[in-house]
Structure formats: C-alpha cells, structure tokens
C-alpha cells in the first residue's frame, strides 16, 4: 500500500485525483476546482477508460459518475475490486441519481462516499481531504 501521506507532501508531489464523468464540461470544471486546491487531476469520460487510466496513472482517489458509457459506475467499482492495487483507491461517487435508490448500492459496491449533483464544493473537498489523510480504501467485502 501507499506509504506516503499526501497531506504532508511537498507541493511538488501532490495527490492525484481521477475524475470520471461523461459530461466533458463538468469534468473540466471539477478538474479546475481540484487543481485550485492543489490536486493533480486526470480526466476520463467512460467506464472502460476509467479502469485503463486507473491502472496507468494509479490515482490516489477517484471521483466517479454513475451514468457512463462503456461500463457504468457500478461496473467500474466492480472492476476496481478485481485489481489489488486499484481496490485500495478510495472512490467518491458523484451522480445526478437519486440517493434513495443508489446510495446504499454504491457504498455496498465499495465507494467510500456518495454525493448527489450538484454537490457542495466545500463538503466534497472535505471528504476528499479526509479520504487522502486516512488513506482509507473502500471495497472490503462484507
């Protein structure tokens, strides 16, 4: 597992966050927001690329939309669990879908937090920082 603690890293060695959303505009805006908060970002727009990019980039955290082409968010969550190196990456789900019908399922599928769009920026950043500090991996089967 990771040994470094991103919150105490030097600016040169910042935490990397992968944003998975099929809406390029929202992806872009989220990235700008994250970069302004001293995170590096990688953006992808579909489920298949999400897995490929996660393997290639080994991000410290993933922000994941549920409605995606080429494998929706649940497929991505499931696939992440297949790889030991990826299963420890905390995933925050950010979706337009109804929490009543999806929140429980996403958390059961291994996500560590659920946000409905539009999410409060400060709340989202708070959870991102907390995840990176504890280095908590979701996805332990129960």
């Amino acid at each position: 597992m990771r040994t470094e603690n991103p919150s105490e890293e030097q600016p040169m060695n910042r935490a990397k966050i992968m944003v998975v959303d099929d809406d390029p505009d929202l992806r872009q805006a989220l990235s700008l927001r994250l970069q302004a908060n001293n995170f590096d970002t990688v953006n992808v727009g579909d489920g298949y690329s999400a897995i490929a990019m996660a393997q290639q980039e080994q991000p410290h955290l993933i922000i994941l939309d549920l409605g995606l082409p080429a494998g929706d968010g649940f497929v991505v969550l499931k696939n992440l669990q297949q790889y030991p190196a990826l299963s420890i990456i905390p995933v925050i789900v950010l979706t337009a879908r109804d929490p009543d019908s999806t929140e429980k399922r996403t958390l059961e599928s291994g996500a560590v937090a659920f946000f409905q769009k539009p999410a409060d920026n400060e709340e989202l950043l708070g959870v991102i920082r907390a995840c990176l500090q504890t280095g908590c991996g979701g996805g332990l089967p129960s």
Partner: protein, 530 residues
C-alpha cells in the same frame, strides 16, 4: 361466467328468503354455485377463505344492520361485486348503498330468475370495468411519478455544470472579477440554488405522493434539533433583520422521529416564516408538552408577518399552492414546501395545522410522537402477566476511525445493527431503536431479560458476530458493556404496567447519563489504546 359456474355468496338469515333466492338462481340458464350463510361474521369468514364471483346481501342480519352491513362487506372484499337484497321498506337504504359502491339492488318478493341472472351478469361486468379503471389510474400515477423523477434527475446534470462554473468564477479561480461581475454572478448562484431546491421539492413531493417517503425514526432530543435548525436559518434571518427566537419547554422527553426529516420540516417552516415577515419582525420556534396529550410533543413556528387570509387557510398545505399576494418579489418556489412538511409529519403519525389572523402573523404547529420506552419494553420484560426477575442493559458502542466518511460509517453502523438483532432472543430481549448520535459515535442498547452472569454469553456473541463484520473492522471499533437494571420486587403492590414504567424510567436514565458522559468514555478508551 358462462364457462365456469359463478360462485355466489348469499348472505341471508331468513330461511324462506334464502330458499327462494337459491331457487331463482338455480332456475336460470347460467351455472351457479350457491353458498348461503345467515350471519355477517360467517360471511366475513367465507370471504377470508375464498373470493366469490358475487355477493348477494341482505342488509338486516342477526349480527349487523343496515349500512354497517355492506360497509363491512365492501371493506373486506373491495373487488367483489355486491348486489343488495332489499325489502319493500328499505329501498332508500339500498339506493344509498349503490352510491357507496354496491353494484345493484333487487327488491325481495319481485325477483325473477331472469332479473337475477341479469343483475349478476351486469354487476360482475361493472365491477370488472371499475377494477381496470382503477388499475389504469394507478399506472398513470406511477408513470407520472417516474416521469417527474426522471426529469428531475436529468435537470441535475446541467445544473451541476452551471453551479460548478459559477462557483469557479465567484471563487476567483478563473481570474479576478470586477465587483459588478461578482454581484451578477451571485444573483446567478442564488437562482441556481432556487432551481436546485425546486428540483429537490419536486422529487420529494413525488415520493410523498407515492408513499415512498423515507422516514427512519430514532430517539432524538428535539431541543437540540431546534437549535440546529435555528442556527442554519440565522444568517437568512439576520439578512432581513428578523429576530429568530427559541422557546423550549425544559421538560420535553425524548422524541421518536427521523432527525433529518424533522430538521427539514423545521427549516422549511422557519424559512417560510422569514419569507413572509417584514424586516424588524420576528420568528419564534417553540416546543412544549400539552397536558391533554401526554404521547406527543407540540412544536410551533410563529411569525409576525402579514398573516394568511381566512379563505386561504385551508389551502396552504395543498400541492402547488402559492401566496397570490406575494408582493416583495420573493420567488416562492414550487409551492410544495408546506405540502412536503405536512406529509413528513403525517408519516411520523403526527399532525400539522396552521392558525393565522390577517395582519398579525401566522403560527404553524405540528406534533411528533414521544419515545415511549415502556410501550416497547412491555412485551419483552413481562412474562405471563408478571415482570421478569432479571433485566440487564447492554451497551454496544461503535467508534469510527475517521469522522469524515459519513456515508460509509452510516452503512457500517446499519450493518452492525442488523447483525446485533440476530444476537438476541426476540421474545425476551430487545434492541432499542437507535439514539440520535450528536457525534460520530453510534451507541445501540439492548434490554435483555437475563442476569449479569448469563449476559456475558450474549456479550461474547455480540463481540464475535458484530466485531467480525469487515465493514466495521475497516472503519471503526466496537465496545460492549452491560449493567444491571433494578427490578421491583415480586411483592411490589403496583400493577405490571406501573412496574414496567418504573423499569423504563431506570433504563431511560442510564441511557441518558450514558450518552451524556460518552465523551469521557471515548477519551478513556483512547488512552487504553495507546
């Protein structure tokens, strides 16, 4: 009914009348099976066992008379067509019955077999039509709800995009802004937030309408919740120079309600009060007990606004109702807020109402059920009409490793609760409803009808079973403790109910003390851990 014999349930106590009707039925061309019973109670039992094609009903039976008779039958079997057999003298009642959902009536004495056959055929036909109409109506409602739910989700995606870019600009992440530009963007953001609230309300109202509103009652301190709601609304009140005051009865026991939902109701009512109160006015939130109703807490939100005209009072809780006299340019939303608030309260088993006088403000009041430990405990800690000898309170504390991952932690606690319920004997132990946790620590209590020696077996089971949950292992720690509850002696002269009350009081006291001093426990735990 040509293919299969029609099964007619004939409810008639007069043997002569019964024989006559039976004869007319058998005379007809269609195949008919007749089951004749003389009393309403027999009929209800028959309807319970199987559904007949049709009911022929005499209104005056030994155990029921008049309108009550068909009401009971329709209530029992709403989908079975009913034809009334009326006497010459109670035809008016039979007509009334037709208005209330009975298919037809026949006057005894001039029933021919042809008439009877036709009445049965048409009654079955009409009932079938009514049923398909009802099904179609429900399908339409379901479609409407699905449509609304789909639309509100689709609206969220572009809204999220607007929200993100506007906040990027406002936060200066895309370069510095001129003061004017900042002002304009703030107006955009305000509108985005209004739109967001409308989408939320739309979904919430849809849920309420289709009975899917989620209410998870817990044991809560209503005073704390009111303070929380008031703190949330203070900035909005201050902006309009409106005083926001709280009046709390000091003796309010714990309330049994969903904390998130209750907060939603309070915020909604306070927001409403602020909206309709002119600057320098005031909004007051109160909670009190009422002597005539010891099972509920009474909450109210009063404002010093212009009030509601009497003709509008009955309509304020209607869906899409909007104040036609809104003059201050406040965009009021969809007009769903009060409807949703009332639905939430109703879901809790409470009531909501409004009192107002034009020109001197309005008061919205609602009730929430109190948490009655005694009611919950009675079946568990009594056996054969007597109090059990030994009662122990087991405390299960879950402490999270990280405070911020609320969703994941909530999920872990839920799993623990489910597992905990499997660790007890359902007939003599009880897992109490979850307490509202003010911090992140979750505490569950089990009332066990056992002694301190035997309870250790249960505690070990809890440690093994709950402690083994991977979700908990990953996110928190478990602590299980127990203490004895004083039980009134066998010779206690009070009734069992009174004894249960006294046990419930002891349990409640320990729980409240425990929650209060919890912080202390955690500190001790942490010291032990190092």
């Amino acid at each position: 009914m040509e293919h299969e014999p029609a099964r007619v349930l004939l409810i008639e106590d007069n043997p002569g009348d019964a024989d006559l009707v039976r004869l007319r039925l058998v005379e007809g061309k269609a195949a008919v099976q007749v089951n004749c019973v003389p009393r309403l109670s027999d009929a209800l039992a028959c309807l319970e066992a199987e559904t007949p094609t049709l009911v022929l009903l005499d209104l005056n039976l030994p155990d029921s008379h008049g309108a009550e008779t068909f009401r009971r039958i329709i209530q029992k079997a709403p989908n079975v067509p009913v034809v009334i057999l009326s006497g010459q003298d109670d035809e008016t009642l039979a007509i009334k019955a037709v208005h209330l959902g009975v298919q037809d009536y026949l006057v005894k004495g001039d029933i021919t077999s042809k008439q009877l056959e036709r009445a049965i055929r048409y009654a079955v036909e009409r009932q079938g039509l009514l049923r398909s109409l009802d099904i179609a109506r429900k399908q339409q409602l379901e479609f409407k709800n699905q449509f609304l739910s789909h639309v509100s989700h689709e609206l969220r995606t572009p809204l999220a995009c607007i929200h993100q870019y506007v906040t990027l600009l406002l936060d200066g992440l895309a370069g510095p802004m001129a003061p004017d530009q900042t002002g304009h963007l703030k107006t955009v953001l305000k509108s985005v937030n209004q739109l967001h609230a409308m989408i939320r309300d739309l979904l919430e109202a849809t849920r309420a309408e289709s009975g899917k509103l989620r209410v998870e009652p817990r044991c809560i301190d209503i005073g704390e919740l009111i303070q929380q709601a008031v703190a949330m609304m203070r900035p909005a009140a201050a902006e309009k120079h409106i005083g926001l005051e709280v009046g709390l009865d000091q003796t309010i026991p714990l309330v049994y309600a969903d904390p998130d939902r209750t907060l939603e109701v309070l915020v909604n009512l306070i927001d409403n009060g602020i909206k309709f109160t002119p600057p320098d006015g005031s909004v007051v939130v109160k909670a009190a007990m009422v002597e005539t109703d010891p099972t509920s807490v009474y909450l109210s939100v009063s404002d010093s606004g212009r009030g509601i005209p009497p003709e509008a009072l009955p309509r304020v809780f209607e869906r899409l109702y909007q104040d036609p006299n809104a003059v201050d340019g406040n965009r009021t939303g969809l007009g769903l807020g009060l409807y949703i608030a009332k639905e939430i309260v109703t879901f809790h088993g409470g009531r909501m109402w409004v009192a107002s006088q034009s020109g001197s403000g309005s008061t919205f009041s609602f009730t929430l059920p109190l948490y009655s430990l005694a009611k919950l405990l009675l079946p568990v800690i009594t056996h054969r009409g007597r109090l059990r000898e030994d009662i122990v309170l087991v405390r299960v504390e879950l402490t999270p490793l990280s405070k911020a991952l609320r969703g994941s932690w909530k999920e872990a606690c839920q799993r623990c609760l489910e597992r905990l319920r499997l660790c007890i004997y359902v007939d003599k132990d009880l897992v109490l409803p979850p307490m509202e946790a003010s911090g992140a620590v979750e505490t569950f209590f089990v009332v066990a009808s056992t002694d301190m020696k035997k309870v250790s077996i249960m505690m070990d089971r809890i440690r093994d079973q709950v402690g083994a949950l991977p979700k908990l292992k990953a996110s928190g720690t478990l602590r299980v403790t127990a203490e004895m509850i004083p039980v009134p002696p066998a010779a206690d002269p009070r009734t069992v109910e009174q004894q249960v009350w006294s046990v419930a009081d002891s349990v409640a006291e320990i729980i409240q003390q425990g929650l209060w001093s919890r912080q202390h426990f955690i500190e001790k735990e942490n010291q032990n851990a190092h």
